[in-house]
């Protein structure tokens, strides 16, 4: 196996584009090395992008934040601005694995690993995050929910690399939250999860909302019906009931070692309710 650690994104993209055999990008490595260990993948080439300076940066711009592909999730948790503006995204990213994993894992890696149970993805989807993609044909941006096409597969083309995540500028009176269900308190993969992002209008009425669910379908799902259930409400019990029902209706999970169809469906609704309450409070609603 060849290991390369290029200094520029262009170089990295070139290496990936011309690679023969199996080639993988290495950011945090917390998924890739596990798959290598189990023999699921046997790379001929691994391209480590962490030596590219831009991948290590969190930039605040007039349009929001740009988070480099190599930024470890632990670093997100220490960024005061991000924590204030996008607490749901940060808490989702900080739920991935232990402190040891946090020191390495990245949101971009979490996205590109293309697991429906990825913790940071529902929160990013709810937040309207975009992926910045570089490739042989230049740069493009894509809503995060368009990156993953199924378990383990993405819409990225050969040589394309997600170089950063863009989070939009935070509107006032907005809040987001992410909750997942795991059997233990730590170290587990989400059995199901929910992300809620909302903005309040006058008198605490929800003006806009986005609701996403993880681990209940082949990809993370955005649930417009759930968002509609919230919009126009002050998060009363009726709205919460409708939210839970919409979420349950959006679930098409599988039975596997981590949970049953029945359990995932039911608990997805419970988590959406609870996440909505947190997001509402964060937005200043009472």
């Amino acid at each position: 196996m060849n290991y390369e650690a290029p200094a520029t994104m262009k170089e990295a993209s070139k290496l990936m584009a011309k690679a023969k055999g199996e080639a993988y990008l290495l950011a945090g490595g917390t998924d890739l090395l596990v798959r290598m260990k189990s023999g699921m993948v046997e790379p001929d080439l691994v391209v480590d992008i962490k030596r590219i300076p831009a991948t290590q940066e969190i930039k605040k711009t007039s349009n929001g934040y740009v988070i480099g592909a190599g930024v470890a999730c632990a670093t997100l948790g220490r960024h005061k601005g991000l924590l204030k503006d996008w607490p749901g995204v940060v808490e989702a990213a900080n739920l991935i694995g232990s402190d040891q994993i946090q020191g390495r894992c990245t949101m971009v890696g979490n996205l590109c690993n293309a697991s429906p149970a990825a913790d940071s993805v529902p929160a990013m989807v709810a937040a309207r995050a975009k992926a910045v993609i570089v490739g042989p044909k230049g740069r493009r941006t894509l809503p995060v929910e368009k990156v993953v096409t199924g378990p383990g597969s993405t819409s990225l083309k050969k040589g394309e690399i997600v170089e950063a995540i863009k989070l939009p500028k935070r509107e006032s009176r907005s809040g987001d939250a992410y909750l997942r269900f795991v059997p233990r308190t730590e170290m587990d993969i989400a059995v199901c999860s929910a992300g809620v992002n909302l903005t309040l209008g006058p008198k605490g009425v929800i003006k806009q909302a986005r609701v996403s669910l993880g681990a209940v379908a082949p990809t993370v799902v955005l649930v417009p019906a759930a968002a509609r259930a919230l919009t126009g409400s002050k998060l009363d019990d009726k709205a919460l009931d409708k939210l839970a029902a919409a979420c349950e209706a959006a679930c098409s999970p599988i039975d596997d070692k981590r949970g049953t169809v029945e359990f995932r469906t039911e608990v997805a609704g419970v988590l959406a309710r609870r996440a909505a309450k947190i997001a509402y409070e964060r937005a200043g609603g009472k």
């Binding site: 269900f181 059997p183 233990r184 730590e186 170290m187 596997d256 070692k257 981590r258 608990v267 419970v270």
Partner: protein
């Protein structure tokens, strides 16, 4: 030998104190050497190819390409491990488990092995081995395996004492008890009858199996290995490979946890055979996935319990049917389940029947008080239910029915002085029992029993010229026993704890010691150490007598020194152990003590646990809020490590009760062979585990010691099940009580309640 009866209620000066352990610095600096930490010049890397099928005929194995790969030094199949077991079926089973012969019996069963110059090469070689399989029908569930039309796991197996012509998966049926249970139930005012299931769990030691094997063409070999029983490993490896026992030296490395799982050989004979074939040292280390798929987890079970009591709260009849799967090879696990199930109680009419059942899963090994936790889960759940029917407090109900000195145990013998009653009395008075519970919270308690074991033991105690002492024992230190044995030697000799250095001897330096299992380490090596020290004291007294030129019978040993007794010797000042040691070169040479013993009389052990939980009614998730262990230790030699055993066992039980389970797919393959999805408790899942050590001396040990290692895993399944059931108002009958199972039980109960309300409303 018969049991030792030299117990005296003596005052101790060191026993019961908490000095630091002798291996502490090595273990906090990374210096301690475990199974995978040894290397030898020229060593090869060994790897094993494993069956991807639950049950398959091995039609052929083509190793030609692997053998030709540059850097490959040996390729091994069953053909390289001829059957030398002389019709000993138990030994043949071990051989077959180490390397599949004509059939792969479970997902993960070894089918071939390689040794190569490095891991990359060895991995490549494994891929070049072509195995042609014919898949056979498989069975992994214990109840399914007992059915008449179930796929047969081992065609030669017949139920012991059963139909000699009938192929079956039921290897053994074991019945225990006494009295007339039918008559007992006829007298009962209340009867409880319930069925329970538990899923398969693994010991989950953090250190995978690992060894470094060297075996030459001269039949001489060395094995460095993580094991609970290096003498047993030596005997088994020698038998399977046709070696002379004395020519195979086995050294136990520091052991990174065993809990019963390192009492059997798994890949060690293969490592030795690879080394013999390559004529180079071979290091073989299992991956975590291999540990889960191909070492020895505990049984999954299916248990029925029936209890009857009279209005005054006396249990008048008790029966249990316990079905344990043994994996693909016959074991004694159902038998142990049947033996332990009712051991806590004083019962006139009792019967338990244990089934040992074969399935296409890895061979079951001991796991801390093997088989007892699952039986206790069923019985202690029913005891709670029966107490409720009778209208008694569960602790009072247990106290009323608890076994005591003189009770005939349900598995046969009468009890001596035992701790079940005292642990229950302690629970009854414990502040934990009076703490207030909040919404969605519940409390449960349960009792547990374990036999404990003694077995063959020997040790050497050598006194150095400066008066310090080398204590060499043959039981592996799995949890701090070097500290407790050093305390015992120092106590007996009357010297400081720091003057004793305790070492685990290899198989060339001591006689046979049974495997460190059955909580026997401190009990049996403690006994041997006391006798060896007394043996050395006799010699010390003789040397003092010689020095003083008086008769040895006038010399006594007190506080680490020889004292000349009698007025006529009042001019003779005491001689310390150090003084006698310094003189030893000229008084007869080195001074030592030895002991070889079959340490019978291991005192049985009982525990009672209390547990508080909170259940999230919307997700079925359970949090353990508070946990208290009360257990009889006989005598706590080093209380820190006694508490450590109580806490560790309780937490393993908590993991088992709530989340740990082997999950097999329809294809018979294990779906969760890793610590991500085989969920052992993490630090943030738990509260502090409170402990109370009771000391009811074992009359069959000079210091009153009972084993303490195992009993602590017995009550938690039931204690937590009782707590969860009390919290949610639904009886939990299936372990682990994972969130999906608990939520389903809550929902079903709600629906039932609603249906009943509709009926009564209509």
């Amino acid at each position: 030998m018969t049991s030792d009866t030299s117990y005296t209620d003596q005052e101790f000066s060191l026993i019961g104190t908490r000095p630091i352990r002798p291996d502490g610095v090595d273990k906090v600096t990374g210096r301690a050497r475990y199974g995978a930490d040894a290397s030898a010049p020229g060593q090869l890397v060994g790897l094993i190819l494993r069956s991807p099928h639950a049950h398959a005929k091995i039609k052929s194995i083509d190793t030609a390409k692997a053998e030709k790969l540059a850097g490959v030094k040996a390729v091994l199949t069953a053909a390289d491990l001829p059957d030398l077991t002389n019709g000993n079926r138990a030994s043949y089973d071990v051989l077959e488990n180490c390397m599949a012969r004509d059939r792969a019996l479970y997902d993960g069963h070894a089918v071939a092995a390689v040794a190569a110059i490095d891991e990359v090469t060895a991995r490549k070689a494994l891929k070049l081995i072509k195995v042609s399989y014919k898949k056979l029908p498989h069975v992994t569930d214990v109840d399914e395996a007992m059915k008449d039309n179930a796929p047969i796991v081992q065609p030669h197996v017949r139920t012991a004492g059963g139909d000699p012509d009938k192929q079956t998966n039921i290897a053994q049926v074991s019945t225990f008890g006494h009295g007339d249970v039918e008559a007992g139930f006829a007298k009962a005012d209340y009867i409880v009858e319930e069925s329970f299931k538990t899923e398969q769990t693994h010991q989950g030691y953090i250190e995978p199996h690992a060894c470094l094997a060297t075996l030459g063409p001269d039949g001489q070999g060395e094995l460095w290995v993580t094991t609970q029983g290096h003498y047993t490993f030596r005997n088994v490896c020698a038998e399977l490979l046709g070696l002379e026992v004395a020519k195979l030296k086995v050294t136990s490395s520091e052991i990174g946890g065993g809990f019963g799982g390192k009492t059997h050989v798994w890949m060690e004979p293969v490592a030795l055979a690879l080394s013999r074939k390559a004529n180079r040292p071979v290091k073989l280390v299992m991956s975590r996935e291999e540990v889960f798929r191909a070492s020895g987890p505990t049984s999954s079970t299916s248990v029925d319990v029936k209890l009857g009591a009279t209005r005054d709260g006396r249990i008048v009849a008790a029966t249990a049917t316990l079905r344990y799967q043994d994996g693909a090879f016959p074991g004694i696990w159902g038998m142990l389940g049947a033996m332990t199930s009712f051991a806590c109680y004083d019962l006139e009419n009792v019967k338990s029947v244990g089934y040992d059942v074969l399935v296409n899963r890895p061979k079951v090994a001991a796991y801390r008080a093997p088989s007892a936790p699952m039986a206790a889960f069923g019985v202690e759940s029913c005891v709670d239910l029966l107490a409720a029917k009778v209208g008694m407090d569960p602790v009072d109900f247990r106290l009323l029915n608890a076994a005591k000195e003189g009770t005939k145990a349900s598995y046969g013998p009468p009890y001596g002085p035992i701790g079940i009653g005292p642990t229950l009395e302690t629970v009854k008075k414990h502040p934990h029992m009076r703490a207030r519970l909040g919404k969605n919270q519940g409390r449960g308690m349960a009792c547990g029993f374990w036999f404990n074991f003694g077995g063959q033991t020997c040790c050497d105690l050598n006194i150095g010229v400066d008066g310090t002492v080398n204590l060499t024992v043959g039981t592996v230190d799995v949890g701090g026993s070097r500290a407790s044995l050093s305390l015992i030697a120092a106590e007996e000799l009357g010297i400081p704890y720091e003057s004793v250095k305790c070492t685990i001897g290899d198989t060339a330096s001591l006689g046979h010691n049974d495997t460190t299992e059955g909580s026997r380490g401190t009990f049996s090596s403690g006994m041997a150490t006391i006798f060896a020290a007394r043996n050395a004291i006799e010699e010390l007294k003789a040397r003092a007598a010689q020095t003083w030129e008086i008769n040895a019978k006038h010399v006594e040993w007190e506080n680490g020194q020889a004292i000349a007794k009698g007025i006529e010797h009042s001019n003779l000042g005491p001689l310390t152990l150090e003084e006698l040691a310094r003189k030893s070169p000229t008084t007869g040479g080195p001074i030592a003590g030895h002991n070889e013993v079959v340490a019978d009389g291991a005192g049985v052990s009982f525990a009672s646990h209390i547990c508080d939980v909170e259940v999230d009614p919307e997700t079925g998730s359970t949090k353990v809020l508070r946990y208290t262990v009360v257990q009889d230790a006989g005598k706590a030699i080093h209380p820190d490590y006694v508490e450590g055993q109580f806490q560790g066992g309780a937490v393993q039980g908590i993991g088992w009760a709530l989340n740990e389970e082997y999950i097999y797919g329809k294809d018979g393959r294990l779906q969760n062979p890793g610590f991500l999805d085989y969920r052992i408790p993490v630090c943030s899942d738990l509260p502090f585990i409170d402990t109370e050590i009771l000391e009811i001396p074992n009359p069959n040990h000079p210091y009153g010691i009972r084993g303490v290692g195992e009993t602590s895993i017995v009550p938690p399944l039931a204690a937590i099940a009782n707590a969860v059931s009390n919290a949610v108002g639904v009886r939990m009958r299936h372990i682990p009580m994972s969130p999906p199972r608990v939520l389903k039980a809550i929902k079903e109960a709600q629906m039932e309640e609603e249906a009943q309300q509709q009926v009564s409303a209509g």
